[in-house]
Symmetry: none
Subunit: 140 residues, 4 copies
């Protein structure tokens, strides 16, 4: 057996509040999802004008970042035609997200989950996800 | 054209807080999902000791109740062998839930969404969902 | 953050060896799956004469037991027509298993995973799964 | 009727041990899957720090290589935009893998299965899969 750290619902709420604050700051209503280290949903919210398509995209970005332990943007950079991971986005029944907005959550170099945002541009989505990460780091 | 009422994220938060309070009162950590009139996820939370299998079950109970505009328990009562809706639980790729814990949300007789709970017994799940509904009715 | 125990591959191997020994003892080649606390596959093997249909069934039994923290047999006992969880077996895209052979793994009352067996009768499957559990308990 | 060669669990274990040894040698924990000539899982293991997303990817690489009787890399080389197999990665519900790490297993020119690895770079994944193949060839 080994011992690992795990996100609580309160940790997720702290991240969610910071992400929502950033989304309001940039004026883009978002779907925001936070998952645990197994990629399973812990907390989700859709802001009033966020897209319906972005519900699943936000959840799957969080899942991908948590379960692959890498940002979804990083996968996009190696998945174009002729690149080594071309085609990875259709794996896992299409859940594998390869555009920006999903970030893994690490605590002392250990993977503990992921946060995924969607409804803005991928850059905006990632900015909001990062705000969630930053809030968690500040209380550790 | 017509005008319809729609749940806001704040409405969902009000319901979620009441449902969580009831779950704590009965001592059962739950997965709780609230969806809009299209059956699409608005707000979700997993309490720290809630089941992982109940994530999808809670979301699908909320979806079924909202989109079919009936409690998931009511479907269970007509879906046994020889009954009129026998087999309905395998429709929609298995998303159609037929055991208690999913309730439709009506405002002035108009369907506006659903709430689904899972991780306790079906009776406990429905009790927690009902607490969410009650909280919304009190502010209307 | 909280701290939780996690199965290692070596823990899973210990369980697998004991389960395989039991399967040979009763003369039934089996598919045997061990998953972590998130329900994700850690170790799987198909003995030479085990059924092909039982590959997914064993994996899904282990998943169900781990993620719902209850034996798959226990779910079967409340899922018949007229019972409270009737229809639960078609949830999660049909992954929710309700016949014997899947057991949750607990360490000091904490859920850490599941073991699922298939290819014999459900009773035989559960006997083999139990042998895996027993082996882990002996080294804790 | 005809007679075909078939992998045993012992053959798969031999391959798995060699693949694991290579993974340790290059310092990358991997998900490793071995399937039979029908593409069905025979043996799987996830090393302690391997990715969760790579569970399904490793299994599907082994499946693709076995069932298509070609390396997953070879499919990637003909599946770019404008190439003859463009789009093949979305077939079979997304199980068709087109990046390196899945190799078919041949015995005397006869296809008997596949091995798939994932968690490193595609090149690393293929190197580990090849170590499994080499170990089998040495005992034939």
């Amino acid at each position: 057996m080994k011992t690992v750290a795990r996100l609580t619902l309160d940790d997720a709420r702290l991240m969610m509040a910071a992400a929502e604050k950033k989304a309001k700051e940039i004026g883009v209503d978002m779907d925001i999802a936070i998952v645990d280290d197994g990629g399973h949903l812990l907390l989700f919210q859709r802001m009033d004008n966020a897209r319906i398509t972005s519900i699943t995209i936000a959840i799957d970005k969080a899942f991908t970042a948590a379960a692959a332990r890498k940002s979804t943007r990083a996968y996009g950079e190696v998945s174009g035609p002729g690149q080594p991971a071309f085609g990875i986005n259709t794996s896992l029944g299409g859940r594998f997200m390869i555009f920006a907005g999903g970030l893994p959550i690490f605590v002392k170099d250990q993977p503990v989950g992921g946060i995924g945002c969607s409804s803005g541009s991928p850059d905006q989505d990632e900015l909001v996800a990062q705000a969630g990460l930053d809030a968690l780091q500040q209380v550790l």
